[in-house]
């Protein structure tokens, strides 16, 4: 080997040295071999079991594969126009990213500098915390309230002069809780524009409750508000990685300065445009499937004596009388892949995606098999 090995101790910043890389799960063919099962039902990532909508599939089928040789629209021009029509905003109110994870990074990069902090909950989607920490900023984690929801008073109390962004997840992943519109408005009023508030609505399309607030409608009133949405969950384009954020044009202009252009590929943009065309029908079908799954699984879990929390999204959290990571291995051996929740700071809990009934029946059976005595 030519040259010396680089001195990593001095080259790598201290805050990176102490971070462990995220290791994603292995592909299905490898997992099937490892666990000795014929098929794996993925109930771990809250994907939509119905797949992409018919119009999204049509859009994908119509793609000229030769276009793979051409750069995509660098700022998702046509998609932003479609989004503007759908939500009654201007195209410049949107930034499209390679999944919502990328736009989280854009926001933190745009507003934080050394010594700043962000605030979120301790038991919520981990990426806000991760991005802040590997960027060298403090993530202040406020415990969820007794109702498994974000604690508004405690979040406000955690703000100091260096707080730049507050992240809310609505409905919360993994508890499914959300604030009513009145509560959200009170919170935004108390912030009074001093910090950026991000409302991550990755699962909003699953919610049927009448009091669930629509962040998009609040953008006109709160210029410090940014709303995140994704095509990965309801629209079932997780494999294409596409999500977006919306906000006041001036705010979006600031965030755009940190964006990586061309990060969203042409196929994802086309499929997302297709998704919007038959969104109403697709959302209706999916909600019916999730409702059926929730109505089946809840009583089954009651019979097993397992506490569960479903909320309004397409997942359910279940408390087990055993280690969740052991349950993961035992369920995997039966071809059922769930999300163990130790990493979400809910030890001995699992989160499962609500999907088609036959798979929910297998899950209920699988849980019965692994429960002690």
């Amino acid at each position: 080997m030519a040259g010396s090995f680089p001195p990593l101790e001095s080259l790598v910043p201290r805050h990176i040295q102490h971070i462990e890389p995220y290791i994603p799960s292995k592909p299905d063919d490898v997992l099937r071999q490892m666990f000795g099962c014929e098929r794996i039902h993925r109930l771990n990532n809250n994907e939509n079991a119905l797949g992409p909508s018919p119009k999204a599939m049509e859009a994908l089928a119509a793609i000229d594969l030769f276009q793979a040789s051409v750069y995509p629209s660098g700022d998702a021009f046509h998609l932003r126009t479609k989004l503007a029509d759908r939500f009654g905003l201007t195209p410049d109110s949107f930034i499209v990213g390679n999944g919502a994870n990328e736009v989280i990074a854009f926001v933190i990069k745009a507003f934080c500098q050394e010594g700043d902090n962000i605030i979120t909950a301790d038991k919520t989607f981990a990426v806000y915390e991760w991005v802040a920490e590997f960027s060298g900023y403090e993530a202040r984690l406020v415990p969820l309230g007794e109702d498994y929801g974000f604690d508004d008073d405690a979040m406000l109390a955690a703000i100091d002069a260096r707080t730049k962004v507050l992240f809310l997840c609505s409905p919360n992943n993994p508890t499914g809780s959300y604030w009513s519109e009145a509560k959200l408005r009170r919170f935004l009023d108390r912030i009074d524009g001093r910090q950026i508030v991000v409302l991550d609505e990755a699962y909003c399309e699953f919610v049927e409750a009448a009091d669930f607030p629509d962040g998009m409608k609040l953008l006109h009133e709160y210029p410090n508000l940014l709303v995140f949405r994704t095509f990965s969950k309801m629209f079932a384009l997780a494999g294409l990685r596409i999500g977006f954020m919306a906000g006041a044009e001036k705010l979006i202009d600031v965030v755009r300065r940190t964006c990586v252009v061309y990060s969203v590929n042409s196929f994802a943009q086309q499929a997302a445009i297709g998704s919007l065309e038959d969104a109403t029908e697709h959302i209706g079908r999916t909600r019916a499937m999730v409702r059926q799954a929730r109505e089946f699984l809840g009583p089954e879990l009651d019979k097993l004596g397992l506490f569960h929390l479903a909320g309004e999204a397409n997942y359910m959290m279940i408390r087990l009388p055993m280690s969740d990571t052991l349950a993961y291995r035992k369920l995997m051996a039966q071809g059922l892949m769930v999300r163990s929740m130790t990493g979400f700071r809910f030890p001995n809990h699992i989160r499962v995606t609500l999907g088609e009934l036959p798979v929910m029946e297998k899950l209920a059976e699988g849980l019965k098999n692994i429960l002690p005595g």
Partner: protein
């Protein structure tokens, strides 16, 4: 790690630079607030390695020397181009014969190994590192604090110095001579937590009484915990403490948590026993999506049965030497717990003489009064698979698998005196 201070130096292997190396170590270690004695021991270790290498290296090769203070110990690392050092000279069983010139030359390395509290060898790309660790001296527990009747609510408290010292005293009052090593010196426990190598969850009442606590430290991908210990009549504190510990460990990239000799108050449902007696409890912190284990055919049946019992997804690769040239010599590390009569051996380097070196270790350790010898074999290292026949022949018995305990799973073997 807030309390860490580091000094680094690079120099060629030339005799006139030796005082620079030893002087640097001596001064740095004393600047860390440690005693002259400890500084001299570390300086001597460096002198021996430097002198040995200076006689063997080619012009242009350099030593990278670093000194680090971690609150309760100083670590000195000598890094140099691989292949220059006979690692077997660091074995605790190495003896020196006055008739053997090569043996006499290596005597310095033996001295180096024995002047420090811990020795570790690392390899990174083309470099090899010899790590010498010398700990600070601390007074042991003097007081006694009996368990108490709780009169008020408990809250999670930051592990501050006075609370940690109280925690150590309470554990010592419970276990006496069998107190786990981290609790034997309260001041040391404070430094261990302060430097970031250990962490703790403490539940404290309004009067400042520590009602329960759990302590842990992380090594590679594994966290090892002591507790939860409850010192009052509120058993629910054990669950509260454990949940708080798991919340702290979440999102740190660790793979597992182990509790050796779990206390009676350990709550049900959080751990899985790794062996029948339940003296080792285990919990994965992340989803296990499989790994490769390098296993000798002699141990494959045991390994397969255990991984099936534990639902561990493993691909077993039978690792057998097929005539290829390997390292001729071996080196083992020995971690001793003299009061318990226990020693833990691990392989630093596996060579063709492994069986003989193992035998020498067992003989020497038995003579030194150790009645329980544990061997930890890393199944993530293909070269270690070759050790299984030697362990079996030496009367060792495979006891359990510690999943992800090393580079891969660690297969734990024991040999008791009667074997």
């Amino acid at each position: 790690m807030p309390n860490q201070q580091r000094v680094e130096l690079q120099m060629p292997f030339r005799p006139e630079y030796l005082p620079l190396a030893t002087g640097c170590v001596e001064q740095a270690v004393q600047a860390y607030g440690m005693g002259r004695g400890e500084a001299m021991h570390l300086a001597l270790a460096v002198e021996e390695v430097y002198s040995f290498l200076a006689n063997r290296t080619t012009p242009g090769q350099r030593l990278r020397l670093s000194c680090r203070f971690a609150g309760y110990y100083a670590e000195v690392v000598c890094r140099f181009q691989r292949g220059g050092l006979p690692v077997e000279a660091f074995n605790i069983t190495t003896t020196v014969s006055s008739d053997d010139e090569k043996s006499l030359e290596e005597m310095g390395l033996l001295l180096a190994a024995r002047t420090v509290d811990q020795l570790r060898i690392s390899a990174e790309a083309a470099e090899m590192g010899v790590h010498f660790i010398k700990e600070k001296l601390y007074p042991s527990v003097q007081d006694d604090l009996p368990d108490f009747a709780a009169t008020g609510p408990f809250h999670l408290a930051e592990p501050e110095a006075e609370l940690l010292k109280q925690f150590a005293v309470r554990v010592h009052s419970r276990f006496g001579a069998k107190t786990p090593p981290p609790f034997q010196c309260p001041g040391k426990l404070v430094d261990m937590v302060c430097c970031g190598e250990y962490d703790a969850v403490l539940l404290v009442d309004g009067k400042g009484n520590v009602g329960a606590g759990i302590l842990w430290h992380c090594r590679n991908k594994l966290a090892e915990a002591y507790g939860p210990f409850v010192f009052c009549d509120q058993p629910r504190l054990a669950t509260q403490g454990l949940e708080a510990c798991l919340a702290k460990l979440a999102r740190q990239g660790l793979l597992c948590l182990v509790v050796q000799q779990p206390p009676a108050e350990m709550p049900d449902g959080f751990f899985e026993p790794l062996e029948a007696a339940g003296s080792v409890l285990y919990r994965q912190l992340e989803e296990d999506n499989g790994s490769v284990a390098y296993i000798h055919p002699d141990i494959a049946d045991f390994y397969r049965a255990e991984t099936q019992r534990l639902f561990l997804p493993r691909q077993l690769h039978q690792a057998l030497r097929q005539g290829e040239a390997g390292s001729p010599r071996s080196a083992f590390s020995a971690r001793m717990n003299r009061p318990a009569g226990q020693v833990v051996l691990t392989a630093l380097w596996v060579g063709e003489d492994a069986a003989a070196v193992l035998q020498q270790h067992v003989k020497a350790l038995r003579q030194a009064g150790f009645n329980e010898i544990i061997f930890q074999l890393d199944t993530g290292e293909a070269s270690q698979a070759e050790l299984s026949p030697a362990l079996l022949a030496g009367g060792f018995v495979p006891r359990y698998i510690l999943p992800w305990g090393g580079r891969g799973d660690v297969l734990v073997w024991t040999q008791r005196e009667e074997a």
